[in-house]
């Protein structure tokens, strides 16, 4: 018995050591095989390809990005991006699924940079992922663009960023813009309610909205806020709770399938006949509501994206190309992804580098830059030149004869809705928006 055990244990030791070494070398070999030629620029694109955020956000973003990457490689973009490639190099995009949570994403980021040897990383819809990846990006000194995440904490947590940029706007801009739109178009509204998904995005949005309302519509009363679970899907009870409070306006930062479900259910229950809904991410449903949202529902697109894109060569090209390929006009996630790729091209073309630009050269080119995009001119004007400043737009949904459009669109300039450097965003709102100009 003893001898058998001894032998077995030796075998176990040998096999276990062999396994570990084998696995390690497999990993190292994986590293070797992904080295790529130096005549292309490799960018990692991280977005939701699975789970509830993939349908409304991740997949359209991926599609928008791919469209622009193809056009860059063919040189078919309108001016000023009509040169082939980025800094003359072919652009190669590898995709990674953003699912799995921040800890997983930190791991995947490291894999992208160290195993797949990407030259830059673009992505991140979830605020949690942005917050976790930011410090790692700085540590690994890799040019990184966050294109969608909406946390106002991003550059509060990241002191003195060198490599991390954000080409999208945060929840503060969304909700200050919403409050201003309400103050301008429905100044007599007195009873305001809300329904947000119960997680950081929903909580932050509601906080920013109510703080802004205190400043801009002090007579209005906040009567209720419902906080259903994310992906709950069915809001019968929450709708009842809202109805018992008789609101005139219902604010919501819900997105994707949840937003569509809520709108359909609230409409069927008559809540949207009693109150007007204000949806801060509503633009992603512009071509999906099909009249389920009553005319007059207020929609936002997180800035001049999707249906809010201004008319310029880039946006017209993008809308046409996207609709041709995917059968529907691009929604705001697709536009924002396109914008981030354009930012990369801008940075690469202007880096002055010979061959593949380094992260430092890219960062220097994008810092504080003003570049053209599908949303007009993007001014990287905050957080020391790392955060984009753009106007915030809201409009009303109108559906007639099978056609959806935005009416009564109002635009608020960037520094009207975003806090200047040095301010904590919530403090800025509470002090009455010092330093803003809103005409």
């Amino acid at each position: 018995m003893k001898t058998t055990q001894q032998r077995t244990i030796w075998q176990k030791t040998l096999l276990s050591t062999a396994t570990s070494v084998a696995l390690a070398s497999a990993g190292v070999m994986g590293l070797a095989t992904t080295a790529h030629a130096q005549d292309s620029f490799k960018v990692g694109f991280v977005t939701f390809l699975s789970g509830g955020a993939s349908g409304p956000f991740g997949v359209p973003a991926s599609q928008g990005a791919k469209l622009v990457v193809e056009a860059i490689n063919e040189g078919t973009l309108p001016a000023p991006y009509d040169s082939v490639g980025v800094n003359g190099l072919q652009l190669e995009m590898v995709e990674v699924d953003e699912a799995g949570g921040p800890t997983k994403q930190v791991e995947e980021y490291r894999n992208l940079v160290q195993r797949q040897n990407v030259n830059a990383v673009i992505g991140y819809i979830s605020s949690g992922d942005c917050l976790a990846v930011g410090p790692v990006a700085e540590e690994m000194q890799t040019f990184t663009i966050a294109f969608d995440c909406g946390t106002s904490r991003m550059f509060e947590e990241l002191e003195d960023p060198k490599y991390v940029f954000r080409t999208g706007l945060d929840a503060v801009a969304d909700n200050v813009g919403a409050a201003r739109y309400l103050a301008e178009t429905r100044p007599d509204a007195k009873r305001i309610a809300g329904i947000q998904q119960n997680y950081a995005w929903g909580q932050d949005s509601w906080q920013d909205f109510t703080l802004a309302m205190e400043q801009l519509m002090p007579e209005a009363e906040i009567v209720n806020n419902q906080t259903p679970q994310i992906f709950q899907g069915s809001y019968g009870t929450e709708i009842s709770a809202l109805q018992t409070r008789r609101p005139e306006i219902v604010h919501s930062s819900m997105w994707g399938g949840d937003m569509e479900s809520f709108v359909a259910q609230a409409n069927a229950r008559g809540l949207l006949a009693q109150a007007t809904a204000l949806l801060t991410t509503g633009e992603s449903g512009l071509h999906r509501f099909d009249g389920q949202a009553p005319n007059g529902t207020i929609l936002g697109g997180r800035g001049p994206f999707g249906g809010f894109m201004p008319e310029n060569d880039l946006s017209e090209w993008f809308s046409k190309a996207y609709e041709e390929k995917h059968g529907t006009p691009p929604s705001y996630p697709a536009s924002k992804a396109a914008q981030a790729i354009l930012a990369l091209k801008y940075a690469a073309d202007n880096s002055g580098a010979d061959g593949v630009p380094s992260s430092e050269e890219l960062a220097a080119a994008l810092k504080g830059a003003k570049f053209e995009s599908v949303s007009g001119t993007v001014n990287m004007g905050l957080a020391g030149g790392h955060q984009a400043v753009q106007p915030m737009l809201y409009g009303e949904y109108h559906f007639e004869d099978g056609q959806a459009e935005l009416r009564n669109v109002k635009s608020y300039p960037g520094d009207c809705v975003s806090a200047p450097d040095g301010y904590n965003a919530q403090e800025w709102i509470k002090e009455g928006f010092p330093g803003s100009s809103c005409d």
């Binding site: 699975s50 509830g52 349908g55 119960n198 992906f231 069927a268």
Partner: protein, 299 residues
């Protein structure tokens, strides 16, 4: 007073939905002692099948409400039965007699696989077949409104509940199943074809899950991941009510539904974990759930 009415109405509507979701799970566990994690996938399959079929129907210009219900029923039953059969015959049959926990893990693996299969087949765009829900309109009670579709779900759930109870208590097959629940070995010794009973049970449980999904499809936007959200809810209800008991599932659903409605209307902070708190509280006083049977342990 308005709030009390709202709580009662909302509570029972939510409870009816919970019961529909949990019924299949408790039937399968009761007879086969398998906690089917893939139940969430069947719910999602039913939802996707119904939503896409309804989408075609309405795009083609259809607008008959009864036709929509027929579509839901047919799609859900078809996909539930076929998938249930495939899983039971193809996979579970090989694994009978193994550790209970291995069966749970197998169904977990099936859940993972089906999640991606659904994504490959239906894509990630939300499916939004709201027409039946909107078409049925609502009833106004003061400032509250109740959707007629939700009331229909309540009725369907009662019918299915009563039907299940009747089937288990009064029909011959039901009695055979109950004998298997009490003692599998002795039933086999008495000549019951346990294997075939298992297949039938699993198919019925799967179909119930798919029906729950199909009926919910017009209310929600069908996206990847709805299956996973639903599993834990179903588990909590089933455990609270007592595994294998239809009555337990119904009472468990009612308790959870009312607790949740009360929380949302009066103390929204608790909403996120009220269901787990209720389950834990029930288990403290009734360790096998409300109607669970204490199983005599064989020494």
């Amino acid at each position: 007073m308005l709030t009390v009415w709202a709580i009662l109405i909302d509570g029972f509507i939510y409870a009816s939905w919970l019961f529909l979701v949990a019924a299949g799970l408790t039937v399968i566990y009761g007879v086969m002692r398998i906690l089917n994690m893939a139940h969430g996938s069947l719910y999602a399959l039913g939802a996707y099948a119904a939503a896409s079929a309804l989408g075609w129907y309405y795009a083609d210009g259809g607008d008959q409400l009864w036709m929509a219900f027929a579509i839901i029923a047919v799609c859900a039953v078809a996909i539930g039965a076929v998938t249930g059969l495939a899983i039971e015959r193809g996979l579970l049959r090989i694994m009978y007699g193994r550790d209970e926990i291995l069966m749970l893990i197998i169904t977990f693996a099936v859940l993972l696989i089906l999640e991606d299969v659904m994504k490959l087949v239906w894509g990630t765009t939300p499916y939004f077949a709201y027409q039946p829900y909107a078409a049925m309109g609502r009833i106004n009670i003061d400032v509250l409104t109740v959707s007629r579709y939700d009331l229909m779900v309540l009725v369907v759930s009662i019918v299915i509940g009563v039907g299940l109870w009747f089937w288990l208590e009064r029909t011959r097959i039901g009695k055979i199943l109950r004998s298997i629940i009490h003692d599998r070995e002795v039933s086999k010794a008495m000549g019951v074809n346990v294997g075939r009973m298992f297949t039938i049970t699993f198919m019925i449980g799967a179909t119930l899950g798919a029906i729950a999904g199909g009926i919910t499809a017009p209310i929600i936007s069908v996206v990847p991941g709805i299956g996973i959200e639903v599993i834990v809810l179903a588990f909590a209800v089933v455990v609270t009510g007592g595994l294998g008991s239809i009555t337990g599932a119904a009472i468990g659903a009612i308790i959870v539904g009312l607790a949740r409605a009360t929380s949302i209307h009066t103390m929204p902070e608790l909403e996120l974990f009220i269901i787990y708190a209720v389950m834990a509280a029930v288990l403290v006083f009734r360790p096998h759930g409300l109607f669970g049977q204490a199983v005599a342990r064989k020494i």
